[in-house]
Symmetry: C2
Amino acid sequence: MPDSLGQLTASETVEIIATGQASCQEVARACLKQIETREPEVGAWAHCDPELVIARAAELDRVGKKGPLRGVPFGAKDIIDTFDGPTEYGTPIHQGRQAARDAACVALTRRAGGILMGKTVTTEFANVSPGRTRNPHDLTRTPGGSSSGSAAAVADHMVPLALGTQTTGSTTRPASFCGVFGYRPTYGDLRMSGVMEVAGSFDTLGILARSIADVALYRQVLLGVPPHRLAKEPPPRIGFCRPYFWDRLPIDTRSLLIETADRLASGGAEVEEAVLPPELEELESAHRWVAGFEMARNLTWEVENRFEMISEPLRSGRIKDGLATTYERYIEMRRLLVSCRQAAAPVFERYDLLLAPAAAREAPVGWDPVPDPWVHMLWSALHVPSLSIPALKGPKGLPMGVQLIAGWNRDSQLLSQSAWVYQALATTAWEAV
Amino acid sequence: MPDSLGQLTASETVEIIATGQASCQEVARACLKQIETREPEVGAWAHCDPELVIARAAELDRVGKKGPLRGVPFGAKDIIDTFDGPTEYGTPIHQGRQAARDAACVALTRRAGGILMGKTVTTEFANVSPGRTRNPHDLTRTPGGSSSGSAAAVADHMVPLALGTQTTGSTTRPASFCGVFGYRPTYGDLRMSGVMEVAGSFDTLGILARSIADVALYRQVLLGVPPHRLAKEPPPRIGFCRPYFWDRLPIDTRSLLIETADRLASGGAEVEEAVLPPELEELESAHRWVAGFEMARNLTWEVENRFEMISEPLRSGRIKDGLATTYERYIEMRRLLVSCRQAAAPVFERYDLLLAPAAAREAPVGWDPVPDPWVHMLWSALHVPSLSIPALKGPKGLPMGVQLIAGWNRDSQLLSQSAWVYQALATTAWEAV
């Protein structure tokens, strides 16, 4: 039993601990063992203190505290504060930085009985320069970013759950590359207290997990509400979405998506070609300008005090461009965001889910953590919830996600209806490592 | 000259330093002298290290660094991180808490040449329990909160500028009570990186100052854009607003506002009774539910680990209510917020400025820092910019503000047109202490 404990989902882990089949310590040790074995190759962790982890698990076994995540090991992206270990933002500038309190999301996870395993690798300031994480499916490839370590750790059975964040595609992209579920909530729903701001107009938390039930459970914990089971759903109305960037997708990706839509229709869903209002095409540059403006200002302290320690790509890219962006352009783009959100609303009335790519392709060889950001900008700019489900296999045999998107604040239905979709695609579903 | 240096506005300070009439050190010493004299009674500062202040000013004199706020002393509310001194959130729980980096707003102020004088007193977690600050106009009265120390310090000539924040009325209320200008920007405009989240759906920065020109200058510094002068404006179209809570205002306040509207009309403005869509009445409870839900979750770490150190009013009020709020109620209220913002848009097309109370009354006797929150909820919920201008005198002879509100992202015009209003009311304008 103990050897396979690390293979369990969060929901299964809770069950096995609640019924006395394993202790919190045994589960934690199984995860630590996997980390010990694989970490030298995968590099998912910025910080993990095994003794502290065991102490936390032992304490939980001792006090017998209840909670919907009792005994579940979790990782937190290293831009999310924890009071009992460092949070370093993926940069040597903040080496050893120690927060005084947990971020709200971490405190809520611990309240629910979760055991913090440590901090997962982020790209530098959750931006473009990679950390040392490798894709557990193929160590010559990027895991995707910026929530690189969170996706890799979940995919590699080091933890069943991890917290990420998303400004552009920082949760859905690595979820697709690593073959796990990646959930981005409705903007504003999950508290960002204690999480480094990248670009406040778009930042959300993200959840990485190995089942939709786990995503749903963890979401409720992070909302601070009593958990309940996923609703059983009839086949959803699906809008198959070929957004303005369709022609930029590799032909293989397009074929896989078309095939996926066909299979869902065969499975009983109403599938229709969804037409997006043409003005949404402008969201790509709106996202770029607004995020750049905000990122550059958020890094003012580092630019003024530690400029030489910022990576060259960040300095000469986002920071330089962001500082050159005028306020007039910024405001024009923020107005555009608001009107596009209003324009998109009818599409989300018409369909339960939109079906779209979760990444342009399977994980490429090399370390660029954020290829093809245009796949994600549209949805992040709209503030709508989305889920990347690991349902496809790319031409090289690597995992690829399908992205399902729902209307603003329809997160519950997104998850329950995505469970129907995942089930319908199950025969070709990608298995985690 | 040095004795009066502390009386200057920020714009005047910049001028006098740029022309060599005073050094940064002399200005800083003048402010420190005022703090030394008055702080035992006023209690505006959570932390002020005179030696460090002098060292910063001396360094600025030495390097001769240019900047639009060169040599201007400023305070920062004690929920805003600074890398070189404590940030304690107005609670003994975080006594001695030390951040690793400046909040974006502090770094931007220093980049512009501002000299951090220290941290100003906030209510506990920027919530309902007062700090030790007293109203500099009458030490038996509250300065208002939660940006209590920032408003009192500016009013009492301890600094020409201070950073506050606002979730409900935490900048405009103390500005009104203390007789200074209090600006709340369009939601999302000014970066919150490094600022404690109270309730993310409403939180903004706030600026406390002694002139509108200073507010405009500081706003541009915080936006990270090149500063330019306030535009000279013709008389604005003013909507005199008697919102749904009009009947709850004391008769004196109503009379003062009616008189103000009359005087502006006599001065040449187009003044008309503004009719708000009736559904905006619901914003009061929407603000209450949403803010409560978010605040309670943001304080999870403290609730779990330091419960006994949280004040009783916060524990048994916002936290208890917030934790009891269901997600369904939270989402229903967030939807309402969105629809009310759309419903309010035509009102802001029709008028340049709305004229409304900045507080229900002059500062009351005693220490309740947040009386009559219903005066503020409407505007904070709408995400529109507003400015409290110290133009009135209450029945006890204490300062009272008038609140001017503009449409989403019309901050520049709000400030330039408010300058017209302030000028038109100048003969009855309240003078700071």
